[in-house]
Amino acid sequence: MSPTKKLAATAAFLASVLVAVPWAIAATGRNDLYYTLTSVALLSIASAGVWLTFYIGRINIGQGAYALIGGYTSAILVVDYGVSFWLTLPIAGLFCAAASVLIGLPILRLRGVYFAMVTLVLTEVARLLALALPITHGASGMVSIPAPGAIRLFGVTLVPDFATLQNPRLAFYIVSVVLMALCYAGLYRLVHSRMGRLCLSLQQNEELASSIGVNIAWLRVVAYAISSFLGGIGGAMFAAIAQSIYPSSFTVTDSVNFMLNCFLGGLGYVFGPMIGTFVLYFGWDFLFQTGEYQLLIYSSLLIALMLFLPNGLLSLRPAAKKRG
C-alpha cells in the first residue's frame, strides 16, 4: 500500500470507531454496546500479542496468565499503594514483559506442541498464584477498584477524572480504542520493519536464521516480551473497567480464545487478531439466541472455518496479498 492510501485507511478507521460508532450508539440508545466494543478492543490487544508469538513460530496458549498478572499489578498498585491508574498501565505491561523474559528464557527453547503445552499450564499457574499469594487478596479478589483519575499537566486537565464523568462507558471505550489503534500501529510497523522479517525467518527456519547470524534466543525473548507486554496492558485496562479482578478473571478458556482470535482472523495478517476478536466475540453473543445449541453451533462453525479458510478470514479479501 502506498503511504497516502495507508494514511487514508487509518483516518477512515479512526473516524469510524471514534466518531461514527459513538454517534450510532447515541442515535439508537444502545449504550450496552460500549461495554461489548470496549471488551473487543482490549481482548484484541491481548490477541495481538499472541499473534506476534505465532509470527515467530510458537503456539502461545498462555496469554491469559499475562492478562491476569497485568490486571493484578495495576489493581494492587491503585488500591494498596494509591498510584495513579495511568501510571500503573505501562507498569503492568513492563512487569509482564519482565516476568515473560524470566519465563521465556527456558521455555522458548521448546517448539511446537511442547511450547504450547507449557504455556497452557502458565494460565493455570497464574490463577493458583492469585489464589495463594497474600498480596492478591485470595479468592475474593479485589473489588471496588477506584476509576482512573485525572491526568493534569501544568494545571491543564488532559484527561478528566473518570468518576466525575456522566458517561464513563464512552470514556473507557475511547481510551480502549485509542490503545488498540496504537498497539496495532506499532505492531504493523514492527512486522513491516526488519524485525518482522527476522521474526519470519525464525518462524520458517531457526537453524538457518542462526547460521546467517541472527541471535535467535534473544529475538525469541524480545518477541515474547512484547507479546506479554500487550497481554498485561489489556488485562490492566480490563480490571480498571470492571473495577474488579478475581483469580478467575482470565482462565484457560480466555487463553484459548486469544489464540482462536488469531487463527480466525489469519496468522499471516497483522490485523487478523483484531478482526478475529470482533467476529468471535459478536458471533458468540449473536448465537446466544440459539439457547442450548449455542456451543454446538459455535464450535461447528469454528471447525468449518478452519477447514475451509485455513489462512483466516482476511484471506477472503479480494486483493488479499500474502503477508499483507
Binding site: 524485525m195 522479517r197 547460521s211 546467517i212
Partner: protein, 261 residues
C-alpha cells in the same frame, strides 16, 4: 599462506559412539578444501562441529587464531564462518529475493529500533541490501526467478539459493554441506563452476562432499575421513593414488573414486 581455519584434535562422541576421532587439519586463505569419506565416516558431524552447531567433546576449532568451537552459531557466523545446509534448508515462504535480503542481516549498520522508526541509516541499509541481493542473484544466475516463492523452486536452484544466502552474509569462510548431492552431471558441472566463482570473490571454501568426481575437479586439497579418523590429506592427485583411500573405498567402481575421467 596464512592459516584461516584450524581444526585441532577434534573428537566428538555420542554416548559410546565416536563419530569424529582426533581429527586435525587446517584451511588457508583462498583455498578450496574438501572433506570426503564413505557413508558414516563422520563428515557431517565434523561439519557441524566446525560451524559450531555441535560442541566438540575434545579439541578445538580456531578461526584466525581465535577459538570458535563452543560459541553460539550466530556468533561464529558474525565472525565470518558461515555454513550452508545439506537439505534444502531455506526460508520456504519467502521469495528468492527476500531470502537473500534477510541474509544481509549481519551487514546492517542500523539497529532494530532504527529499522522500527525508519531512520536514515536503516533506509540506506535497506536500499543497499536490495542492490546487493540483486547483484548476488545475478551472479548466481538466479535473477530471472527472484520474485518466485522459494518453496516452488526445483532442487538445483534451491542449492544455488542456499549458496546465495551464504554469500549474502559476506563470509570469510563458506562451509558448504554436500553442495553437489542429488545433482545430475550437468548440474554438478555448473555447481563446480559456481563454487570456483565464489572463491574468485575472495571467499575461502570448505566443503563436505560425497561426489568424488566433483571433489577431484574442484579441490586444492582433500581431507579423507573413515570411521571418524583422518586417513589421508593431500592434493587430488595424491589422494587418488593413496592406498589407504583406495582401501576405504574398496569395492566401489573406479569411476566413483575419480580414477577414471
Amino acid at each position: 599462506m596464512t592459516q584461516l581455519l584450524q581444526v585441532s584434535q577434534v573428537t566428538k562422541r555420542f554416548g559410546g559412539l565416536v563419530a569424529v576421532n582426533d581429527v586435525s587439519f587446517s584451511v588457508a586463505e583462498g583455498e578450496i578444501v574438501s572433506v570426503i569419506g564413505p557413508n558414516g565416516a563422520g563428515k557431517s558431524t565434523l561439519f557441524k562441529v566446525i560451524s559450531s552447531f555441535l560442541k566438540p567433546t575434545a579439541g578445538e576449532v580456531r578461526f584466525r587464531g581465535e577459538r570458535i568451537s563452543g560459541l553460539a552459531p550466530h556468533i561464529v557466523a558474525r565472525k565470518g564462518v558461515v555454513r550452508t545446509f545439506q537439505e534444502t534448508t531455506i526460508f520456504r515462504g519467502m521469495t528468492v529475493r527476500d531470502n537473500v535480503i534477510i541474509a544481509h542481516h549481519l551487514r546492517s549498520k542500523a539497529n532494530l529500533a532504527g529499522f522500527f522508526v525508519g531512520s536514515a541509516t536503516a533506509r540506506r541499509d535497506e536500499a543497499e541490501f536490495g542492490r546487493s541481493a540483486d547483484q548476488i542473484l545475478n551472479f548466481l544466475d538466479l535473477g530471472a526467478i527472484k520474485n518466485e516463492v522459494a518453496s516452488t523452486l526445483p532442487h538445483g536452484l534451491l542449492r544455488a539459493l542456499g549458496i546465495a544466502i551464504g554469500l549474502a552474509t559476506d563470509p570469510t569462510v563458506l562451509l558448504l554441506d554436500e553442495p553437489f548431492a542429488g545433482m545430475n552431471h550437468a548440474e554438478t558441472k555448473r555447481a563446480v563452476e559456481l563454487v570456483r566463482a565464489v572463491r574468485e570473490r575472495g571467499v575461502t571454501v570448505l566443503l563436505v562432499e560425497h561426489d568424488m568426481v566433483a571433489v577431484m575437479r574442484i579441490s586444492d586439497r582433500i581431507v579423507v575421513l573413515n570411521f571418524g579418523l583422518k586417513i589421508a590429506e593431500g592434493t587430488p592427485a595424491e589422494i587418488q593414488c593413496n592406498p589407504k583411500v583406495i582401501e576405504a573405498y574398496l569395492g566401489s567402481e573406479d569411476e566413483t573414486i575419480g580414477l577414471l575421467p
